[in-house]
């Protein structure tokens, strides 16, 4: 038997195992456990021991029994060697070991003799590690945002690592930040404004974009190629170069601090991409169907309304969701155009909260949850449409 693959396997898998355990320890620390040391060396030896035993036992035992025995052993040893912690911590440790050992099921003495086994081991564990890494790095800030909104500023200053939520308190205290931002900071009103602006932008953009996209996709006219390239070029110019002239003009026209002003700007900035996305889809609709419509004596209005729109509903849904997302998340224009709290959107309101250094962070995070949650829910629910919208429109971002 070659020893090189075995050693590489033991090292890499133990490093992977160790990193999951460290993440678990970090998460446990954030629940208020007082763990001061990651004990990397000692835990690494434990991990190597476990994986070695796994290979050593091989197929002599049934897989399920084997992994349960190993997990129990690991947890017991860990308990013996480390500081005392609550039961749920060991339970988590047990489950992690169970997960890890079931992941490495295919590794046995025979597998380690295969060709390219070193590469396979490395690729295998890089993937596993990658999944854990990405999930942790992405979800961690969202997790912190969420749990901070249930804490208080004072508790966090005393112990910035304790994010445990005390459900023994009455529910009002747990959700206090949310009550405060809705009562004192008027977030109900901002949600309304944000929804109004976003939905309004979607509707107006579609009303303008569908006929224009139809013209670009189907009709012949002078300057057509020029127009379709300029749509893309215009789209690449950033909001920041538009801000100063728009600010001066809007100030003089009195359009600042108004929902109408925002609607106009949002619609104009999302129109190019909406036209670009829709015309691509319209081109894929067979022309014969329209010809049949023409025979029936429909004019272009009828064709768009009765043939094009019903046939391209999925594309329209993508565009609508994408435009909604842009309008809901938009920040620069709302920062520039809105000074009056009466006309704030959610993004602007959260920015306004930070203007006062005294604002406790749990209110800020509660506001962030309020603005993030709807868009994430919409994304998860309509993922299919939004992903195709993102792909088509993501020349921007």
């Amino acid at each position: 038997m070659k020893y090189r693959p075995l050693i590489i396997f033991l090292t890499i898998s133990s490093v992977f195992f160790l990193s999951i355990i460290s993440i678990w320890k970090i998460l446990a620390t954030l629940q208020g456990l007082n763990l001061q040391n990651l004990n990397i060396n000692q835990n690494f030896l434990l991990c190597i021991l476990t994986t070695f035993l796994f290979i050593f036992i091989g197929n002599k035992l049934d897989h399920l029994i084997k992994i349960i025995i190993l997990s129990t052993l690991f947890t017991a040893l860990y308990y013996y060697l480390n500081e005392l912690t609550p039961l749920w911590f060991y339970l988590g440790l047990f489950l992690i070991t169970l997960f890890f050992t079931s992941r490495i099921r295919k590794y046995n003495k025979d597998f380690l003799k295969e060709d390219y086994v070193t590469e396979k081991i490395i690729f295998d564990f890089i993937s596993l590690f990658g999944i854990i890494f990405f999930a942790f790095v992405i979800l961690f800030p969202f997790y912190i945002m969420f749990v901070t909104s249930f804490k208080t500023q004072i508790a966090l200053l005393v112990n910035p690592l304790d994010f445990s939520i005390d459900f023994k308190n009455n529910l009002y205290d747990v959700f206090k930040s949310y009550f405060v931002i809705f009562k004192t900071y008027n977030f109900g009103r901002y949600i309304l404004t944000s929804s109004l602006v976003s939905i309004g932008t979607v509707i107006i953009t579609l009303i303008f974009a569908i006929p224009a996209a139809y013209a670009v996709a189907r009709l012949n006219f002078f300057g057509k190629t020029f127009l379709s390239t300029s749509i893309l070029i215009i789209y690449m110019f950033p909001a920041i170069v538009l801000v100063i002239p728009l600010y001066t003009v809007f100030s003089q026209l009195g359009l600042r601090n108004s929902v109408e002003g925002l609607l106009i700007v949002y619609t104009a900035t999302t129109l190019p991409v909406a036209i670009y996305m829709l015309q691509g889809y319209f081109k894929s609709i067979p022309k014969e169907i329209e010809d049949a419509g023409l025979m029936d004596g429909q004019n272009w209005f009828g064709i768009i309304l009765k043939i094009i729109i019903p046939l391209s509903l999925p594309a329209i849904a993508s565009v609508a969701l994408y435009v909604f997302m842009i309008a809901w998340n938009e920040f620069l224009f709302s920062l520039m155009f809105l000074d009056n709290p009466k006309s704030f959107t959610l993004s602007r309101a959260i920015n306004h909260l930070t203007g006062d250094a005294e604002t406790p962070r749990q209110y800020l995070m509660a506001g962030s949850v309020v603005v993030t949650l709807p868009i994430l829910l919409i994304f998860v629910y309509f993922e299919k449409y939004l992903v195709s919208g993102l792909t088509a429109g993501s020349v921007k971002g």
């Binding site: 620390t29 954030l30 040391n37 060709d115 390219y116 590469e119 690729f123 990405f134 999930a135 992405i138 800030p141 969202f142 912190i144 945002m145 200053l157 910035p160 006929p211 224009a212 139809y214 009709l219 012949n220 006219f221 002078f222 127009l227 215009i234 110019f237 950033p238 909001a239 920041i240 170069v241 538009l242 801000v243 100063i244 002239p245 600010y247 001066t248 003009v249 100030s251 003089q252 106009i264 129109l271 997302m325 998340n329 920040f331 620069l332 520039m336 993004s347 959260i350 920015n351 962070r361 995070m365 506001g367 603005v371 993030t372 868009i375 993922e383 792909t391 993501s394 921007k396 971002g397």
Partner: protein, 419 residues
Amino acid sequence: MSDTLSKIEKRTAYTLLLPAVLLVFAIVLFPIFANIWISFKEVELKDIRIPEPRAKKIIKEITENQSQLKILYRLRNSSLIESIDDVKFSDKLPKNIKPINLDSRCKFSSNKIKCNFGKWEAKYKENFEILIQHIDNKKIDKNIIKLQKPNLSGNADNVLLTMKFTLKNFKKVFIENDFIDLLLTTFYFTFFGTVGAIIFGIFAAQLVNQKFYGRTFMRSILLFPYVGPVVALAYTWTLLLDPNSGTLNALLVNFQIIDQPINLLGQKYIMMNILGFEIKLRLALTTVIFFEIWRYFPLAFLFILARLQAVPKDLYEAAEVDGAGPLKKFIHITLPQITAIISILFMIRFIWNFNKFEDIFLLTGGASGTRTLPINVYQQGFGVSDIGMGSAVSIVIVLLLIIFMFIYFKLIGKKANEI
């Protein structure tokens, strides 16, 4: 016959396009050109308001004679810089009330006082008095007089519309503004942000392209940073990285990895000792770049994943038969398949990172060495209130963008349409 048909077609096309084109023209194209105009002017934020003649009406009773009242108009020019030409004033009096001792600039006819004040210089102020008297010597009701508001009108130059131009702004942009540093920071941010996002995107796409339990769930999660609102995410990261009670620093100190909290967003440089070499790293800028990568790698991921899923499976099977390992498969099959999409992604993301404003603004506000061109537009225009200067920086951005787009369309514009 076909001639009229094509005419109708053209007319229809123009009617369909007109609303969209007009709106985009007004809100997107017009400002880009307006920037050129403004950048050659000395304009500050406070000049944007057009100067107005204003009057405040104060009524004074005369104790010895109840049938008379004194009206005092405090007149002023609202602007501190601009003069107003041809100021006209009018105020209405109730019936049976007449002004006495009327100023020579004024006339009284059909119950109206009309005055022609001529030109008011900047900061102009005047206390203008009129004595009024009831014809029948009755008592004048003070409130009725007070309710009537005077009308003023005048012609003022709108600073933005005058024909005075100057090259001062551009001089300032290139000479006084630390322009080289500004440009370098922008390119550093743009380049590393783009490359980092693409590398992480390839990695993530390669992962999700395999089969594993919870793959669709993973794909949704990977897009979260891009879908979430910037404001919320940027503030969450600011709290995470906060040196005093931020989670990250607290964790690192708790596990004894570092002794002192590091101010990741507020410290311009950090000395690093790598293999005996002292390296001065732009700390805040690097942190901002990592946020940028975190937020935008999902986009690269999405594109590359779509491409990877289109790679025929038999290519890999054939390689397996030939005895190729995973590394060889990646280098010889996967990479060649995604180079085209990567080059397009690089160009697009480069342009968009170059334009990025919100992320840096929310994280550092452009402090501690994170001042990029878009941030500078805001700082000049609204921080220092120098609108002309801000426009001049915008012009620099637009010119650079035009160069990038030219390269983009020359190099891969045609390829982009194929994919």
